[in-house]
């Protein structure tokens, strides 16, 4: 062992220990899903013997899991499209126009960052009920988009401001109106920022629990987080099967994370480093 490795040894020990604490719950769930519940109580920590695939195949074979997966996907994609489209227009106006009331309006949106969703949950529920949007995916999609606005607008505005004014002048000289500049020049240039805010919107929607819990009273539109909670209630004695369900519910999020790590971390840390 080199001297450097030796000097770093305590550090490595700590990192490995923390890594184990992070990984063990996930691995434990994965392995437990391959046991029968009976096996799980006899052999909680070892490798499965034999490997039982019935828990996983049973869940994948029933339409329920796929329906929830589809619901989660549809709601996440729709939320993402709406919040990004609406925020891009707004951020464009904030970044490239000077107009009376601009600062006031921007402050209004940034204030949205400070308020917990839980504050609005109850009246929002009443509003959705009076609009007939309970048990309707729009009842989750629209509020999610609305609460996503502040962050999305702030990130996009920041990015739009960095695009040099000369480009805009050139586009204007070429006869581009504001909308043409926005559509043909700004949006294509802002692709990285759009990617970042889209990933944030998708992950946030995907993990949302409170709002679907309020809005979806029957199971037609349940999303995965609701499904997991319900499944645990339904099979509370069948530990192994719940573990299998958990693992299957985690896979899409973790897979998405491994693909979009850069955008996700970039978006979450954007601005947190500014002096």
């Amino acid at each position: 062992m080199s001297r450097k490795t030796l000097r770093n040894l305590p550090l490595h020990v700590i990192l490995v220990a923390v890594g184990a604490v992070m990984a063990v719950p996930l691995l434990y769930a994965l392995l437990s899903g391959f046991k029968s519940t009976d096996q799980l109580s006899r052999n909680p920590v070892g490798l499965p013997t034999p490997w039982v695939t019935g828990n996983y195949t049973g869940i994948l074979g029933s339409g329920d899991f796929w329906r929830l997966l589809g619901n989660s996907t549809l709601i996440a994609v729709a939320t993402c499209v709406i919040v990004v489209a609406v925020s891009a227009l707004s951020a464009f106006s904030f970044a490239r126009f000077a107009f009376r009331g601009r600062e006031l309006l921007f402050t209004l949106f940034t204030m949205g960052l400070m308020f917990p969703f839980a504050v609005a949950a109850l009246p929002l529920f009443l509003l959705l009920r009076s609009m007939g949007l309970l048990d309707n995916p729009l009842g989750v999609i629209l509020p999610q988009a609305a609460f996503g606005l502040p962050m999305t607008i702030i990130i996009l505005r920041q990015f739009f401001r960095q695009i040099p004014g000369e480009l805009e002048e050139a586009a204007t000289l070429d006869g581009c109106g504001p909308l043409g500049f926005f559509w043909r020049v700004l949006l294509p240039m802002a692709r990285p920022a759009l990617g970042t805010v889209s990933v944030l919107a998708v992950v946030t929607s995907w993990n949302n629990f409170f709002l679907p819990l309020l809005v979806f009273t029957d199971s037609t539109w349940w999303t995965l987080p609701i499904g997991v909670q319900q499944f645990q209630g339904q099979y509370s004695a069948d530990y192994a099967r719940v573990f299998a369900y958990l693992v299957l519910a985690m896979i899409p999020a973790l897979a998405f994370y491994s693909v979009a790590e850069r955008q996700l971390v970039g978006g979450l840390t954007a601005g947190a480093t500014k002096g």
Partner: protein, 334 residues
């Protein structure tokens, strides 16, 4: 510098200005162009503003109104009772407990979780083998839903059968194991453990991004001046990391105020209210007992706490940092 669109009538490169550019022509034409310019700019705001007003501002304002009524949630509120809901609230041991538990969570986060995240960020900011893997692993739980995390840990901390008790039993520490979420004196500590598992990686990532933006020359200069590792950290790194730390603290506090998903999935506030949070109490009254006026009062108090905290923080600590910060619509989102 922000450049501005000229009123679309005259196609001429515009200077960087903060107000609509002076237009040529007669006064009336100028006024018309100005109005047109304003309408164009504001037109782009309409969709966002409509969504925001209807689904964010109106509900908050309505909660403010409904909090002054005894109201079951059907029809319009009509039984005005003044501030009774609030006086009742501050006599309610459960709600006072919510406030106390929120405070405890914030304190534990500031004293344990964030320093832990900072230490790991500093460790992973060095060239060290496997750091990309550690970074990815530590952050991974953040992308899982709080509901899924909650169910996972409710099984890991199941009394006797769960992994935690099995491991402790296996290494002869049965005494340390226990009822975890079912034990009134341990439930908050266990919840905090789970929250740390899920969220410290997020704060670590913030710190890492902050650390990487610190110019290397500065720490090197301190090294040349003979500063030891601790002095370098204390006098160079930490002050430069301050904006990041402030945002991280802000997000942690807002997160604690609105904690719901995890608690709801794992304990529903139990045993006997020992893990209840403001959001859970609000949910219980608003959606289970149909005391919507009273539940609205809880919303209003949460709103008030967030507002006072945010304003005070912005006034005294945050200044302009918040611009560009992200807050999570966090699991429950939004």
């Amino acid at each position: 510098m922000t450049s501005t669109f000229l009123p679309s009538a005259d196609k001429q490169p515009g200077p960087d200005v903060d107000l609509p550019p002076p237009a040529k022509g007669t006064g009336r034409a100028r006024a018309r162009r100005r109005v047109l310019h304003w309408l164009t700019a504001v037109g782009f705001q309409v969709p966002a503003l409509a969504l925001f007003i209807v689904l964010v501002l109106l509900p908050i304002l309505f909660a403010l109104y409904a909090a002054f009524f005894r109201w079951g949630g059907f029809g319009m509120p009509s039984d005005y009772i003044g501030a009774d809901n609030f006086t009742r609230l501050f006599d309610d041991p459960v709600f006072l407990g919510d406030l106390w538990r929120c405070f405890v969570l914030v304190a534990l986060t500031l004293v344990l979780q964030l320093p832990f995240a900072l230490a790991l960020a500093v460790a992973l900011n060095q060239r060290i083998r496997g750091r990309a893997v550690y970074r990815m692993l530590f952050f991974a739980p953040y992308v899982l839903s709080e509901a899924i995390t909650g169910v996972l840990f409710s099984m890991i901390f199941a009394p006797d059968d769960g992994l935690a008790d099995r491991i402790l039993g296996g290494i002869g520490l049965d005494g340390l194991g226990g009822e975890w979420f079912a034990d009134p004196s341990m439930v908050m500590a266990t919840l905090f453990l789970v929250m740390t598992w899920k969220y410290f990686g997020f704060h670590m990532m913030l710190y890492l991004a902050g650390l990487q933006s610190i110019p290397r020359e500065l720490t090197e200069a301190a090294l040349i001046d003979g500063a030891g590792p601790w002095q370098r950290f204390r006098n160079v790194t930490l002050p430069l990391l301050a904006p990041t730390l402030r945002i991280s603290v802000f997000l942690a506090v807002i997160g604690s105020i609105q904690l719901f998903d995890l608690v709801w999935v794992v304990t529903q506030g139990g045993p006997d209210h020992h893990s209840e949070t403001m959001a859970v109490t609000m949910f219980q009254y608003g959606f289970k007992r149909y005391q919507v006026g009273y539940a609205s009062a809880i919303s209003v108090v949460m709103f008030g706490i967030s507002l006072v905290f945010a304003l005070a923080y912005q006034r005294f600590v945050l200044r302009r940092d918040l611009e560009g910060a992200t807050t999570t619509m966090r699991g429950d989102g939004t």
